[in-house]
């Protein structure tokens, strides 16, 4: 994990990616219970971009994402869908561009092969920090490029030290070990 603050202690928004929910559901899906317990113990809610919600809902029948109980998690209140990012906010827009550049380099692709919506995690984190809703943001994803790109871009755009990337696989290991 990068960054100095302890996301379990501070005033933090947890922004979660599709891969976290998929990883919880693969093989035995008892990992969902552990995730819910973890979120509730932190007296918080996982925020997901609309894009993540759409992706999870679009999983083919019979696949792990096709069986993700995301709607019941939202109904139960421990997962919240964020509003669509405001692309006219110049900070949000700049962060998204920077994440795109980061992912392109990291995945060895041209920048135009990375879609702006690939950076939805970073956009949601930026909006929350920019609005002053929270002091810190922690993005949880199994996509290392997206996670590292978010930290890098936010740090360069005035939020240095206020964002962390938590690897989704590591989080699941930690919360299922308890």
């Amino acid at each position: 994990m990068s960054g100095a603050f302890d996301p379990r202690q501070e005033d933090v928004v947890w922004v979660a990616d599709t891969g976290l929910f998929v990883a919880c559901g693969r093989q035995q899906n008892d990992k969902y219970t552990a995730l819910e317990r973890f979120v509730r113990r932190n007296d918080s809610s996982l925020v997901i971009p609309q894009r993540v919600y759409d992706e999870l809902g679009g999983g083919p029948a019979g696949s792990t994402p096709g069986q993700t109980p995301i709607d019941s998690a939202i109904d139960a209140g421990w997962v919240t869908v964020a509003e669509r990012p405001d692309y006219t906010n110049s900070t949000v827009s700049q962060v998204m561009d920077d994440v795109r550049t980061f992912i392109a380099q990291s995945s060895n692709r041209r920048e135009d092969q990375i879609e702006k919506t690939d950076t939805a995690l970073a956009a949601v984190a930026t909006e929350r920090l920019d609005a002053g809703d929270v002091e810190f943001a922690c993005v949880v994803t199994t996509d290392v490029d997206a996670g590292e790109g978010t930290v890098s871009a936010l740090s360069r755009n005035g939020f240095d030290g206020r964002v962390q990337f938590k690897n989704g696989f590591e989080l699941i290991e930690e919360i299922t070990r308890q």
């Binding site: 599709t18 693969r26 999983g59 083919p60 696949s63 792990t64 060895n108 879609e115 996509d143 490029d145």
Partner: protein, 197 residues
């Protein structure tokens, strides 16, 4: 027959080897048995019965098949016969498109009946897509391939791609140390950026 040994260019050996690998990639049970033996080193039928959880008669006939295919060897010197696996490496080149089949692909295929995501991928898109997904899982497992880039280029639903990549990440973790040809599997990260302009 030892069609997998690294001997001189012999057409008969090459084609027989090709057919053997194709056979191995048709029946997940055989694939699973093969990679089990590869991982364990030297095993008896008892070990196979316990480790792969198949009835003895199946273990007996499947090991016979794999010995005939030239991917397992049977040591008959001792009272209890033992089996060992011959690591396979088969490079196919079709009009310039190249892929090397190694035990890692065999392991991924053999795992499909126990993994709903790999199973669904094979059922809907076939073995070729599994091989393609593997080339993305290689850099993904190293944190050098974004899930969304992989999904777009594999032309699969995004969350489903993530599930497949995560399944293959587990496969890679288990085969990296036992597949001597692991480094020969293509990485989609190396693929030159597509030239559509």
């Amino acid at each position: 027959m030892n069609c997998m040994s690294k001997a001189a260019g012999d057409p008969e050996r090459v084609i027989n080897g090709l057919l053997s690998v194709a056979h191995l990639l048709e029946e997940p049970r055989l694939a699973r048995l093969y990679t089990f033996v590869l991982r364990e080193g030297e095993v008896t039928l008892d070990d196979i019965e316990d480790g792969v959880e198949i009835p003895r008669t199946t273990a007996y006939s499947d090991t016979g098949t794999l010995v005939e295919l030239g991917v397992l060897t049977r040591d008959e010197d001792q009272k209890t016969h033992t089996y060992s696996a011959i690591p396979i490496s088969l490079t196919a080149d079709l009009d310039g498109d190249e892929f090397t089949v190694t035990p890692t692909l065999v392991e991924a295929f053999g795992r499909s009946p126990q993994d709903r995501d790999l199973d669904l991928l094979l059922e809907k898109h076939g073995l070729g897509k599994l091989a393609a997904a593997l080339t993305y899982a290689i850099p993904y497992a190293e944190g050098e391939m974004s899930e969304r880039v992989a999904a777009r280029e594999l032309d699969l639903q995004y969350a489903f791609t993530v599930a497949v990549l995560q399944a293959l990440r587990d496969v890679l973790r288990d085969t990296k140390s036992v597949d001597p040809y692991f480094e020969d599997i293509r990485s989609a990260r190396e693929q030159p950026a597509q030239t559509e302009d």
